[in-house]
């Protein structure tokens, strides 16, 4: 395949390798946008990678009062796990500890269709100690749990669906500052898109990993081929001498189209300033096709 450049930025002829995950969408509301932010930041905290956190989660987008079931400000949150069973445990724990505890909050299903469902209020209702009340309006069932500021309203359950985790691309830049600026631009371009989240802090990963380690206890370790400080001693380094920093964006999405759209928008934004902004190349992480069935070839994504 011919070389590809965007504004002089080299797009490597490689692919991002992603894998199937199970996900759900929650709609969180509160009295004010600030309390929505408080609730969702807690809900999506420590949810960067299934490897260490059990799930990956982030706010998909903010919702206007007209878009929420109770007419208040809200946010849609996507939570990804490796299986329906894993997700069921993690979601009910997180909603119980992070949403029910947040003043004025309510939690609704953001995925309504689907044969598989996991509990929300159904798993939390006993907190009401016998004073919980179920209300069914149309096809949707809600629980009202008495709490100290009134009632916590929570949908009975939420559907789950098959999604994709691990879409990614890496930004190779001439300086750390320029690399971070490009990554921030990419995050800003991806965040408004539906069906895709960036679960890492600020949407960016600086500690990309490879499979395995010289230490038996670790299943993953730092991605030495992309560490600028190891370039001189890493025989398989993928960095040219002019690369000072590398940052990665990891995308989880509801389907291939959402990942593809997100990668395209992010890469375009990262390369918008061209080599003049210090961005030298865009590449992607893969494991030779052994990790997952979803392959996002950068040249196809950006074609």
């Amino acid at each position: 395949m011919a070389e590809m450049h965007i504004n002089g930025v080299r797009i490597e002829d490689t692919f991002a390798e992603a894998f199937p995950m199970t996900y759900t969408r929650l709609v969180i509301t509160a009295d004010t946008p600030a309390w929505v932010e408080a609730a969702t930041s807690s809900l999506t905290g420590f949810a960067t990678s299934v490897i260490g956190c059990g799930c990956e989660a982030a706010v998909e987008r903010l919702l206007t009062p007209e878009e929420t079931p109770d007419g208040r400000p809200g946010a849609a949150v996507l939570i990804f796990g490796m299986s329906t069973g894993d997700l069921a445990k993690l979601v009910v724990n997180r909603v119980g500890q992070c949403i029910m505890t947040s003043p004025g909050s309510a939690c609704y299903a953001g995925l309504l269709e689907g044969s598989k469902r996991i509990p929300l209020g159904d798993g939390l209702r006993y907190f009401g100690d016998g004073h919980q009340i179920a209300k069914k309006f149309g096809d949707r069932r809600f629980w009202r749990l008495p709490v100290m500021d009134g009632e916590f309203v929570c949908e009975d359950s939420v559907a789950v669906a098959k999604g994709i985790g691990g879409g990614n691309f890496l930004i190779l830049a001439a300086s750390h500052r320029q690399c971070l600026a490009a990554a921030e631009a990419a995050v800003a371009a991806i965040r408004p898109l539906p069906g895709v989240i960036l679960p890492f802090p600020g949407g960016v990963v600086r500690s990309g990993s490879k499979v395995g380690s010289r230490y038996k206890a670790l299943i993953a370790s730092t991605n030495t081929r992309f560490c600028p400080t190891l370039r001189a001693v890493e025989p398989e380094t993928l960095l040219t001498p002019d690369v000072e920093a590398v940052l990665e964006l990891v995308l989880d999405g509801s389907d291939e189209a959402a990942i593809r759209t997100g990668m395209r928008a992010g890469i375009a934004a990262a390369a918008a300033g061209g080599t003049a902004a210090g961005v030298l190349a865009i590449t992607a992480g893969n494991y030779g096709g052994k990790l997952g069935p979803h392959h996002f070839h950068l040249h196809e994504v950006m074609a």
């Binding site: 079931p69 109770d70 007419g71 309006f137 949707r140 009632e151």
Partner: protein
């Protein structure tokens, strides 16, 4: 409303049991076939066509009933799905034992709206009933699930022995509301001056779940859809039945 239309053309005051005329039962029947169905009326049996002018159309898409001066009992009783619109008044037991679908009555409804049919243990089990006028006594009696919304006043023993579900009466209610109520919600559009017998005063606040009720009533044009507040005074009861039910009187 598309679908089939039944326009009463018999004598004023004729009493008719309408429980056999449900959208799902009439689905796929032609107007001629529907006109030939027997229907209890005035102590005897007549045909639908003998009492109603039957328009062409499929009842599966909706059933429009124009009662004229007839007394139509049990309209939509036992209905499981579909839509019935009554342009005028309905008699007693409208929507009794209903388990699904939409029953809209533009005028008044009689006793036992959304209640239990005689001899049966349960009232309404699902669906939505919307009444533009007022309703009689024992509305939503023994109701288990669903929503009944009445723009006007409901009579005595509203939500009596209610097991679950929601009755919303914009004009308030007669005596003994929530008598024997186990769970469920009786929502009143008028302030309640005194604590109903068998209930405890639970205080006044904004109720978030009422926003969800309002969303569920969108398109019905009912009083609560137009209500600008979700602030209500809560009374908890019937304490003789465990006290898990509630009467909410809009503040």
């Amino acid at each position: 409303m598309s679908g089939m239309t039944l326009t009463f053309r018999g004598d004023a005051g004729t009493i008719v049991d309408m429980s056999a005329l449900l959208p799902d039962r009439l689905a796929g029947l032609t107007a001629v076939e529907v006109a030939g169905l027997p229907l209890p009326c005035g102590g005897g049996v007549a045909t639908v066509g003998g009492m109603f002018e039957v328009s062409a159309g499929d009842a599966a898409e909706g059933l429009l009933i124009r009662p004229g001066q007839a007394v139509l009992h049990r309209v939509g009783a036992g209905m499981a799905s579909g839509r019935i619109l009554v342009e005028g008044d309905a008699g007693s037991h409208a929507g009794a034992g209903m388990s699904g679908g939409l029953l809209r009555i533009t005028g008044n409804a009689g006793d036992a709206l959304g209640g239990a049919l005689p001899g049966l243990p349960s009232g309404m089990r699902g669906g939505l009933i919307s009444v533009g006028g007022s309703a009689g006594d024992r509305v939503a009696e023994r109701m288990r699930r669903g929503i009944v919304v009445v723009d006007g006043v409901v009579g005595a023993y509203a939500a009596g022995f209610m097991v679950a579900g929601t009755l919303a009466a914009g004009g308030g209610c007669g005596p003994h509301p929530g008598f024997g109520m186990r769970r469920g919600t009786l929502l009143l559009g008028q302030p309640q001056d005194t604590v109903p017998q068998g209930f405890a005063d639970g205080g006044t606040r904004d109720w978030l779940f009422l926003h969800l009720l309002r969303r569920a009533l969108e398109g019905t044009g009912s009083w609560f859809e137009r209500a600008g507040t979700t602030r209500a005074h809560r009374f908890i009861g019937d304490l003789a039945e465990g006290g898990h039910g509630e009467i909410l009187a809009m503040a």
